[in-house]
Assembly symmetry: C2
Homo-oligomer: 677 residues x 2
């Protein structure tokens, strides 16, 4: 791996955000999402499906001595699809586990978001709530370290017997991520110790040694979580366990078949199977992103982590192939991934329908994870561009501008009546929802947004990499010298960025600034002491001695650009979308009236960029293009008529940022529009 250039994310504590765009987003998370989530975790939101999360922990934790007997005395709960158990009467639940089998992870994602929030914004009351929640969670931990309320409350003897479907290792993965974050934020290690104890128990149960299970999780995440645990504790056994799970995956005979031989349909014995879980073949031999999209990118993120830490060239090559498989053949222009709701999964190459898209918010988040991890190995614009695309479009579209409602599915074309009347599109919601029974996306957005500086900036001892442009103050240590950079950014609405060196001490080091792929002629001006500059893989490197007042001005021209899909994308032939800077735009009914399918856009005419105040986001721009609207047939007209051209009228088309769609009530939306040459 000699040609690699490693870096790691900055410590979240080292960046103080002051950004026109992300500060409000992070404040939403702090003020809206985190308190709402806490209520959701405690079933205190009457209009939402109960989570049962904290209730399960309390139930599992209270019965300390009789815990095992209690569990065994009860009939094992066989969860029905989709993997949940729900009370018949919400007001009179029995004393057993309720919710999805992965409900424990809701707490873990919440505590992770809380940790990041506390880092930037200390809040003793919130920290007290968090500490109390941790007490409850830890009280449920078994002597041996096991800590999954689903089995604690049903039958502990069945623990780790259904890795494919029952998400224990997934929940542990999230628990580790939450525990590491909380420890890093507060220095408190109670949850970290519990996570370590559980991870140690998992290490006793799984591994290459005789007598241990040769399994791996049905839903990945533990791979990257164990790497974080390794990095915070320094204990190599966690890295080894992560690598074990990665290496074991997809080996034949398939572990999931050994777990339950009835899973193999007669005649399928020799076929590659379990694409859904990315377990069809060893990961090193995988070339195509397949199956459940969130699981896939979580796995690939873990693979990239392990490849980075172990210098495993073969594993890295697999990551590179899988990254290309996604971004060259399976990604929406919004950075959304997972084209089909059947299995929330990747479809085949170039199958990217806008109207039935799944493009789960969590999957776009997972793509951000994966891209950042590839950047940690090698800073290349292709990773940064994808990370930016996913973050500003397919991730942010998952949350309303007021932080109070969420999309799980992020389609590129919405016709509300189709969402209501066409069962094929019932997964597509035409308005954001308050909360979900399977509430993976809202807390996932919360933890990503509240830690977004760790995606924007990575570093090594002599270089600071700037992948995303976020305003604020960054502490950086070049060698032994600590210094400060101040950043100002107009992103995503304005391409002007200023970076200034803010310390009195001189220091020698390199700044590497991403030159976004969407900007044709990035402008930059360097003021102050002379430095060496060069461009490599889409990054501008500025190397030399830094003195107070040194200053870089970047100007990334954000012109509106019509973008088309590859000709192989059969669903979007002859259509274009409009982008500006990192943002993908869309047409909404609110600005353009109904029947968006009748509109076409003149790709030769100029596009007007105008301030757009209707959504009350500072700096937001509307794009106005010229085009035509097909005059609709008379009401009750014939369904089929001889074609004699179409009657069209000139019109202007008004585009708003995709991430901000559906903040003005229900209405049609589409990203791709018919192109007029």
């Amino acid at each position: 791996m000699d040609d690699r250039l490693f870096s790691k994310p900055i410590d979240l504590k080292d960046f103080s955000v002051k950004d026109g765009f992300f500060t409000p987003e992070m404040e939403l998370v702090r003020k809206e999402v985190i308190p709402y989530q806490w209520n959701a975790l405690n079933d205190n939101i009457p209009e939402a499906t109960p989570s049962f999360c904290m209730r399960n922990y309390k139930l599992a934790g209270k019965i300390t001595e009789e815990r095992i007997r209690y569990g065994k005395a009860r009939k094992p709960i066989e969860p029905s699809f989709p993997w949940g158990c729900f009370p018949e009467d919400r007001n009179n639940p029995e004393d057993k586990f309720y919710g999805f089998v992965f409900q424990d992870s809701d707490f873990a994602k919440w505590i992770e978001a809380v940790a990041y929030s506390l880092t930037n914004h200390p809040d003793p009351e919130l920290e007290k709530t968090a500490d109390e929640a941790i007490d409850i969670v830890v009280s449920a931990q078994q002597e041996n370290g096991y800590l999954d309320t689903y089995y604690i409350l049903s039958d502990l003897s069945k623990a780790f017997t259904n890795l494919r479907d029952h998400h224990e290792l997934y929940c542990l993965g999230h628990l580790i991520e939450g525990a590491v974050a909380y420890y890093s934020a507060t220095g408190k290690d109670k949850l970290l110790k519990a996570a370590e104890k559980y991870a140690d128990y998992v290490g006793e149960c799984f591994g290459p040694e005789e007598g241990k299970k040769k399994g791996y999780p049905g839903h990945e995440i533990i791979e990257m979580a164990l790497v974080r645990l390794y990095e915070v504790t320094g204990k190599k056994k966690y890295l080894d366990l992560s690598r074990y799970f990665i290496d074991e995956r997809g080996k034949k005979p398939y572990y999931f078949d050994l777990e339950d031989p009835s899973r193999v349909k007669p005649g399928d014995e020799d076929k590659e199977r379990d694409f859904y879980h990315q377990a069809h073949r060893p990961v090193r031999n995988q070339d195509e992103a397949v199956g459940h999209a969130v699981r896939a990118v979580y796995l690939y993120s873990g693979m990239a982590d392990v490849a980075r830490l172990t210098g495993d060239e073969e594993l890295l090559k697999a990551c590179e192939r899988l990254f290309d498989s996604i971004v060259k053949r399976k990604m929406y222009v919004t950075g959304g991934i997972g084209a089909t709701h059947m299995g929330e999964a990747f479809s085949f190459d170039y199958d990217l329908p806008g109207d039935t898209a799944y493009a789960e918010t969590c999957a776009a988040i997972g793509l951000v994870f994966f891209a950042r991890r590839m950047l940690e190995i090698r800073p290349d614009r292709k990773y940064g561009d994808v990370m930016e695309r996913a973050l500003y479009n397919g991730v942010l579209s998952g949350m309303a501008l007021d932080g109070k409602s969420f999309f799980y599915v992020n389609p590129l074309e919405v016709l509300p009546k189709a969402c209501h009347r066409d069962e094929r599109k019932f997964h597509v919601k035409s308005v954001r929802q308050k909360w979900f029974g399977c509430a993976c996306c809202p807390p996932n957005i919360a933890r990503l947004l509240s830690s977004v500086p760790t995606y924007a900036f990575t570093e090594n001892s002599d270089t600071l990499f700037v992948h995303l442009y976020i305003g604020g103050t960054l502490k950086k240590r070049f060698g032994d010298t600590e210094c400060v950079f101040n950043l100002e950014s107009g992103f995503p609405f304005d391409g002007k960025v200023k970076v200034s060196y803010g310390s009195d001490v001189k220091t020698v080091g390199t700044l590497a600034l991403r030159l976004p792929g969407w900007c044709k002629k990035p402008g930059y001006r360097i003021e102050g002491s002379t430095k060496e500059t060069f461009e490599k893989d889409g990054y501008l490197y500025i190397k030399g001695e830094w003195n107070k007042g040194d200053r870089i001005e970047l100007d990334f021209d954000m012109e509106a650009v019509f973008v088309r899909s590859n000709t192989a994308v059969f669903e979007e032939t002859g259509r274009v979308c409009l982008t500006r800077g990192p943002l993908v735009y869309c047409l909404e009914e609110a600005d353009n009236g109904k029947d968006l399918h009748l509109l076409s856009v003149d790709t030769g005419a100029s596009v007007k960029v105008a301030d757009f105040d209707a959504l009350k986001v500072t700096g937001m721009k509307q794009l106005e293009a010229f085009g035509h609207r097909i005059v609709p047939d008379a009401e009750d007209g014939d369904l089929y008529t001889e074609y004699k051209g179409l009657n069209k009228k000139e019109t202007s088309l008004k585009f708003v940022p995709y991430y901000a769609w559906n903040n003005r009530g229900e209405g049609e939306m589409r990203v791709f529009v018919a192109a007029e040459d």
Copy 2:
């Protein structure tokens, strides 16, 4: 109903087919489909899913004395979705019912096709086989008349307890249709008597009288079948029973809820429900074709029958509204109906996606039924045009040109890899299948094609209506005089038609010839004795005295016409299809290479009509249009790029009749193509 002009289908015996197009199709049914079906009914096709149909009848019939005990001794079989019971080991089935709960209808559809075939083509051996089959079927009939092997072989006490899902009345409907047809063809009434006896028993169980069930079938057909039974027996009780089922449907409280109160979800009590079964409200108040498409058009056909016979103006109005709902807002250009596979159902207005279409063959057949019944009430081109459209396109596409394989689903756009890899399109097959476990479509095609003259011609005492142009000799009785018309037709490939009066006797009467809506300037020439002619509702009426040698030559110009969908059809905006005469055309990979989505057609350029021999169908034409092909991006190119127009090359596009697609192996197909103005 004073402004109506009633007619009824000709007796199949009165028409001797000699037609370049339909004779071969009917011969296929006789030589291929009927024998194959018989083998299928008897589980003699190793590569096909067993039908169990005749086996169930034999099992039910053999145990004459102990029949009821036998049934009760067995645990009732609760069929799993989709309503079938299947043996774990095909070679060692247990002595119980197997197959779908409606498996009995396979026999009924077969005997109906056999009957029509015997009418035109006596075949003592086939008739003997049929008689033996009837013996088996009738042997299973219970003392009280009941005759449904699913309950006979499980638990007779449960008969008629699940009308919504268990298809007993549907099977009886088919049995009646088969029995009437066999009686009409052969004069043998054994099956007819059995059907009557079963119908009588149903009449004892259902009706307005106290103590009788107030039910109606989950799957309609018995409505129109009972009308046929009334018409052949003259017994009004069958018409009354049909009307009862029609009137009862959709009344509140819903019968299906009374049958099983657990079907009502809490909160839904007051909502309209059961759209799937067209049972959401009384049929007279229905305005929109909804739910399972086959069931819907079968119901509407029965409604039209009853409206015609009872002079029920309100019911007729409902039929007219529902017909318009289909043909103005819910029908593919092929006459296919049922836009979604979710429930094999109608979608909402104008939702007509080509690639995920369901458009079941049986539904197009049902639309033919419905249209013919509307024609029986009032000869109007709008019904004849739809009947023709469905028959020549959406129905015939269901069967391969060799009569050996079948489509259940008839999409308008096929990408084979999507059928293999996209679960959302798994219902779409890229090649016709040998047979289906749920084998409704192949026998339905067989019975329609072998009785097609009864759709082409209807009559009353003074008028012969020609709705479809089929060659052959037709016996017609005007008043008391029997005479003969000879017809020659080049349909569907050539629009020249000759009708000559072939009798020595003079007679007075009217010929009413449909002037197809697709023909802009129909030409006709009348030779011989002077007659009154006039056009009304798209029919040419020729009225007067007929003398030997009187002759009408019709010339319906079949020019190639580009057709577009209504602007409200959002899936096909900017696209056209190519039609010629009654045929819809399509592009196939075999003629145009892969990536059909890259093609566009110049709607202004002329279309060349050429003989097309590749499929060995006499007279078939290929259409050649001018257009362009987008030059595909380089392999492994970027997924999204700035739009700078598209690189296109001139090309010719070759279209073949849609019904004949997929007779040259697997490949892409599409009906609608991007239009160049």
